[in-house]
Amino acid sequence: MKRIMPFIRLLARRDSILVVVIAAMIGVTVIYPLSIMVYGTFKSAPPGEPSPLSFDNYGRMFSADWFWVELGHTVWISIGGTLLGVFLGVSLAWIVTRTDTPWVGKLEIPLIVPFFLSPFIGALAWTGLASRDYGLINGWFDSLLGVRPFEVFGPWGIIWVMGIYYSPYAFLIVSGTLRNMDPTLEEAALSSGATKPQTMLRITLPLMAPGILASALLIFVAAAEQFGIPSVLGMNQRWFVLTTRIFYLLQEYPQDYSMGATVAMVMLFFTGGMVYLRNRIMKRREFVTVGGKSFRPHVIPLGKWRYFTLSYLLAYILLVVILPFGTFIAISFFKFWSIHPKMKYLTLENWEYILFEYPNTWIAVKNSLFLSVVGAAVAVLISAIIAWVVVRTKAFGKDTLDTIATLPVAVPGLILGVAYMWAWIRSPIPIYGTIWILMIAYVSRFIPYSLRSIESTLRQIDKTLEESANISGASWLQTFRSVSLPLLKPGLVAGFILLFVTFMRELSCSILLYSSGSEVMSVTMFDLWHDGMFPHLAAIGTMQLFMTAACLMIFSWAFKIRITEVVR
């Protein structure tokens, strides 16, 4: 008894109770469903029905040709998307931070817009530009040269769309590295006799390496777990990757839940391994390159070439934002879309149908808004509490808590959907098919992102600020509310906005978990796509774009934060 007492006293501390409660919550929302899914891979019957356990599913999967082909596809598009995304991101970052390209200041906002755009809509929009049958660009080539050189459906289109819509990650990470790099590191090389290109190659580039590597691994995982892009650009052509295969196994008759879970396991190992690798490499290669006093970083005068770099930036904005999204919005006003869209097909009928007749529109709008605003707020609140416990307290088991809470980073949204299906489709708790299961999935899947940003903000706030509140009599709750929370505000707001945008466009979790009444906008678009109602889905997508933009403006005004600060 005597030996147990200190342990009980430790547990009885409020922060320790908090650890237990949060850990239990994550246990129920992440670990339990994943375990049920793992269990399911050994079954031959659907969830909730008894069946003998065996390795049959694995045997069937590993001996199937489609599995190896589609695993290859997944690796192929992930590598392709990563190479393109990193190349675009790094080149943009370098141009923006290190050259005297004109208008760079003015282009700052347009360059981060792609970060907020939905890659799923991006894929849909690009079909309107580069589909061989009805792509606008093919139309231009057709009338000029009589050829239609592009086809967005298939692997190259998938790689293209992934590369351009994931390039902002590389752009933001690498330009951050470049901005924070102590300029004297480069000056030291210059004054020891190195030329600018030599300095670039031997000092700047190696110092950028951790940032480049970090963004490459990030994009690689994101590309591998992407569902929206390969579903639009591959599934109808029966060009599958693992995510679309899982979806197909679970949705097409006859559904094979066990095989779905088994392929999901492979995905889980794949992304888990990559995330583990990323953490290992990042831990080893993190350089502190932030110096004391800083002069502005060295800008390379490009001479005439600066007009080339300017055109590069403008071309990027044109191809990633203006052309596809302009086309997408335009499509919503056409009865038919073709390589030569005709004025006589201009119509408001799609909008009439979507706004007044289609039954799911307003349900989806309501659900999307609710999930994004409330879900993001809940996730940020929980993240803030976890971050505070982890960074500031000596609570029992806080490091374990940190690890568990970060775990979902390695769980693709679609896989979490599969796990939730397995865990709750036949559960006595009537949660499956409601909007709450989406809420839980969103929050637990994306807590790691807000957690990381809030933790790093919190670490930068000097502990003595809180200690002086303590010493003047404030309880831990009062301290959190009156000192920590206000100081954390920028981090919290940034986390909230990022999650809001992510939830607004979420597709891969929702597509498996929605049912009648809990549709969200992306799901509605997905349905309309498969019913061949492109102009109608373009109307809903346009609504989604403008709703997101309007909300961003409202948040930015209400919380007094610039959108460019959000992504820093």
Partner: protein, 363 residues
């Protein structure tokens, strides 16, 4: 080793003039300090010298080579200036070992492998870090990084060495030690050196010549003793060491002696000085360093420059007494290493030897 000449240098940032028409000459093999408060233009001057900032006007010469001239559009890039620089942040490259950091300038110069090894080892020995050869910068202390930066700056035997507040990130004890080491090294190599600092003690210890800067101008130049004992104006006197100012007017000038009439608060008196650098009628500050105010418990023999005073405060700093004495309402700072018997609050006499009364003109 060549000398360095900066002529009529002007640098503006927007409408702020960072350097206002500065002339500096650093003789061959000497170490010259640019000293001044932050924002005085000293670092900008150094960066113009290094080539990281382009001055708007002026010329810079190394020996008989013109490396910068605004009029002829001559502007040698930093890597061609043959200078070594130690940065305040050390700027030791985090992705290279200590050895690689120091070898970098030689590799750039395509030195043969054997020569690189030899020179790097020699430089490491010189700064006392040969045992750190294979460490990464993250694995060594700030003081050691500082030594790496130093070795890297001298390993290729540049013509000029630039030091930008290299000691300001070190703790006090190490800082004091490094001053002597830097001086010793500089003497050993005999390299022409420009040293930027805001720390007057550092400047005193290290320099052949000190240039005190303020608002982008060189206010006074001279060897450390001249700067301390003969400050040319109020700013320098006040910035270097501690000083008491007694504003007044020169009443009488004769062979080897001036008499200044002081009028401040209740303190109306005459003070004698051996300086005769100002004519009768000139408004001046009679300036006295705290260590030159002598405290006596009984009336001293000297008649002139002696006043009854009150010992307002006495603090023992360890090795010296720091005091405030009041003379007719005027408070003066006094210092002495000798034991002061008088207690705080007691009546004393102060005496200031006329040779220690400096005269500085009031603008």
């Amino acid at each position: 080793m060549p000398d360095v000449r900066i002529e009529k240098l002007i640098k503006r940032f927007g409408n702020v003039t960072a350097i206002a028409d500065v002339d500096i000459h650093i003789p061959d093999g000497e170490i010259v300090t640019l000293l001044g408060p932050s924002g005085c233009g000293k670092t900008t001057t150094l960066r113009c010298l290094a080539g990281f900032e382009n001055a708007d006007e002026g010329q810079i010469w190394i020996g008989d080579q013109l490396i910068f001239d605004s009029k002829q559009n001559i502007n040698l890039s930093p890597q061609k200036r043959d200078m070594g620089m130690v940065f305040q942040s050390y700027a030791v490259w985090p992705h290279m070992s200590v050895f690689e950091n120091i070898a970098f300038p030689l590799r750039i110069r395509k030195a043969p492998r054997k020569e690189i090894d030899e020179k790097v080892i020699r430089a490491m020995k010189m700064v006392g870090i040969e045992e750190l050869k294979d460490r990464l910068p993250s694995e060594i202390s700030g003081g050691q990084q500082q030594r790496v930066a130093f070795a890297r700056a001298i390993v290729y035997e540049p013509a000029v060495l630039l030091l930008d507040e290299p000691l300001s990130n070190l703790d006090a004890k190490l800082r004091e030690q490094m001053r002597f080491e830097i001086l010793e090294l500089q003497r050993k190599i005999g390299i022409t050196t420009v040293y930027v600092t805001h720390d007057q003690e550092e400047a005193m210890v290290l320099s052949d010549e000190v240039l005190v800067m303020d608002f982008g101008k060189v206010i006074q130049r001279g060897d450390p003793e001249a700067i301390y004992f003969d400050p040319s104006n109020e700013f320098v006197a006040d910035f270097i060491g501690k000083i008491n100012f007694l504003p007044g007017t020169v009443k009488q000038v004769e062979e080897g002696a001036s008499v200044v009439g002081i009028e401040e608060g209740g303190f109306r008196s005459e003070i004698h000085s051996t300086r005769t650098n100002y004519p009768q009628g000139q408004k001046v500050l009679a300036s006295v360093r705290p260590e030159n105010i002598h405290i006596h418990t009984s009336k001293p023999d000297q008649e002139s420059n002696t006043w009854p005073a009150k010992l307002i405060r006495k603090n023992f700093l360890g090795g010296m007494f720091d005091m405030v004495v009041g003379v007719e309402g005027k408070e003066l700072r006094a210092r002495t290493p000798f034991k002061v018997e008088a207690k705080s609050g007691s009546e004393v006499f102060i005496h200031i030897p006329p040779k220690d009364v400096l005269l500085i003109h009031i603008n």
